[in-house]
Amino acid sequence: MTYIVKPKNHHPDLEKNELGLTRRDYEGSISSLCAGCGHDSISAAILEACFELSLSAHNVAKLSGIGCSSKAPAYFLNQSHGFNSVHGRMPSVATGANLANHEMLYLGISGDGDTASIGIGQFVHAARRQLNVVYVVENNGTYGLTKGQFSATNDLESKSKYGEDNLFPSIDLAAMAIQLGASFVARSFSGDKEQLVPLLKAAMKHKGFSFLDIISPCVTFNNHGTSTKSYDFIREHNESVSRPDFVPLGKEITTSYEEGQSVQVPLHDGSLISLEKLSKDFDPSNKASSLAKINKAEEEGKVLTGLLYINTESKDLKETLNVVDKPLNQLNEKDLCPGAEKLQAINKDLC
């Protein structure tokens, strides 16, 4: 990590977004992660997505569990409230926060230890309930902060830095999320900004459980030749199902695709995610097709990336619970307290 404090001043000609803000306005504190950590690239991609979408940072809440990944929310969006909770329990805190105020954007940042092991129960149920959250797993296959133990997403054939064998098969979180009913499931790679940024933007605009499994190499403990989560391995084995392009509301699609080679999925607010198909036998709106494709890639030793599944029809948690539109945290005594007269009637019923 660096210890040099970022200068506050910046160049007057920096690019500005619709809010008149520059990328610098979306920055966070200086990262304390190792130089070259995939997580820092993901932070940069999140920053870029928020900048390009012209989001108001204060209307975003960043939530995380424990681990290297869960430190990351401190390194972007300084003007957002953040909550570094306990290990594996980000989904429950995000659920409560979301129910309190559904109008904000919730970014849940987790890791493979945080999600695939200690927090797998909460992950499962948040997905099942369609919590409206962008759930990012910064997946490096290892416990970095405790110095290199295998995580549950580390592939069976992937050895440790010290040559130890991994004894148990990996959990594919993206496949799991699809089965659980998550309505937006993508996999990407921290080193592929061109794919990652549009996916993040689409996830932020999607209503429901948006899950991103982002392979994010750990330069210190899981970037060696016998690892399947190293930069080199992912670059060599990455198979992208489609090239995503996020098209904001009111903008025209400028890229031209060959007939039958693209699909446009309208998102909740009218924006689009446009997917240039790189694979013929794949339909991202069909669960079975997605799962078959993931399984096939796994058999072939490839890492399937891109938008793997999307369903824009499903209800989110707030809708399922039929909660009022005014955020619950803005309701006051008048809205919430039934008052003395009603209480007198209740007393009557109890005698």
């Binding site: 809440a61 409230h81 995000a94 409560g96 309190a100 129960g121 909660v323 209480l343």
Partner: protein
Amino acid sequence: MSNIKSTNEFVIKFANVNGSGSASANQMFAKGVFRSGVPVSPKNIFPSNIQGLPTWFEVRVSEKGYLGRREGVDIVVAMNPQSYNQDLMELNSGGYLLYDSSWKRDFKRSDINVIEIPLTKLCVEEFSNPKQRLLFKNIVYVGALSYLLNMDKEIYEILIKEQFKGKEKLIDPNVKALNLGYDYARENLKEICEIKIETSDKTKGMILTSGNDASGLGCVYGGATVCAWYPITPSTSLAEAFTDYSEKLRVEEETNKNKYAIIQAEDELAAVGMAIGANWNGARGFTATSGPGISLMSEFIGLAYFAEVPLVLFDIQRGGPSTGMPTRTQQSDVLSCAYASHGDTKHVLLIPSDPKECFEFAAEAFDLADRIQTPVIVLSDLDLGMNDWTCPEFKWDDTKSFDKGKVLHAKDLEEIENFGRYLDVDGDGIPYRTYPGAHPEKGAYFTRGTSHDEYAKYTEDGVVNARNLSRLLKKYQTASELVPNPIFKQETNTSSIGVIYYGSTEASMQEALDLLHEEGVILDAMRLRAFPFNLEVWEFIEDHDLLFIVEQNRDGQMRTLIMAEGGIIPDKLVSVLCFDGQPITADFISNKISSHLTGSPSKTAVGGK
């Protein structure tokens, strides 16, 4: 043999098979007594099982208002052959045993009255539906009792009509069953029972409800909007009460949408996490659980304590340790709640003693949690939570508004130069907080369970962390000034000996003090209602040479807490401990205190029964 003769002072116990539909009939019996103007305290003693095991429903009737459990039974309605022997043993000499004489039996006790009613035969003759034949046995004995106890039968007819409102088809057969029992008793059982109920006015201004129902309602009145919970006896009915009352009181008319969100979580960890997330974001969230849930939630409770997120929890205590006796009562989570979680933590406890206080403390818990920015645990128990209690009716002051504590909104933030989430601006240890989204440029901070400085920045500087921990201690001092005061039985102290008690023990305490008074023992009494203890608590302890501490646990947990927090000499504090899972009785308390004072060799007055 002399028959027990009594008017408006007795204990009746129903022995049933669980799953046989007896609970609602027994509850109806108790409500009928209440409607007759006589205070009543029904207690459901049930197994951790759904069908087939013995279950009991014990009703104490007391015009004097003694509503604690009392040893010995005056009337037993023995509906369960499995437990005949045990039920027979508990019956006082001269008492009455009512049983289903469709199958005759010799009860081998010459000092009791056996009342025979062929319940099954009557029902088989009268009803053709096999389910009704079974269920109505319960209503038939209620009808018979109303005759035997000289009650106004119409009260039960009205209760049946109320109970089946909306299911009118069920009213007639139920009334028929009631009359069946009443008429059978009138024709065959004249002048057998010398226990009577006489109409009184002692339940005027009173209600009959459970602590959990009252707490659920208190959460509605206190402005709770997010309830996350995981099913566990005996707390489940609290979340269910919140659900029922919310459905009635909190649905927006125009849109038919809910001004609340309730989630049955995947486990207790998630439940408390959701409640924390909601409170962090400015809504009032809570969870309800029991001892095992507190153990599971402890990590999160520590986070809420250290990150200073308001949180309301209800712990409806049950028999421990481990899974323990899930359907029996105890006060055995005092220490695990007061100090829940690793590291130096202390939490605010509110300890209600009847449903009225459950209602009030539930509502107040949200104000306190918001004001102190910390977890507040309402410590109830199974006896208080799940049983119906005769208590004063609920009151609400419409001029009262929610106190959301020290929260800075956009306008405040505009005026503030230097916002630090954990800065002790007012010197009371309570900092100012902001809700997410408060202001585009000011007031954002990072909530974390790791060590942090006054500006919520991560720090490993030991001095800074110690300073923060010391401020939390100051905040805890402030909390002691905000929590409810203890309640004293006496206006001024008159004795050098005192008794300290809390929670549901209240029901037996006045009777115990009266019993001791009859023996010439006069004690000052203080009921604790909250932790941290305030000045009034310490003064009472200071003012007495000897103090009995009455608790429903094995280890004298409140005594430990008092010793630890106040540096009180152990010799001064004598435990009176009941931990058999049954609600503590006045006889038990007075006997233990009395034998200690008359020179019992034991330093502690301990016992199961």
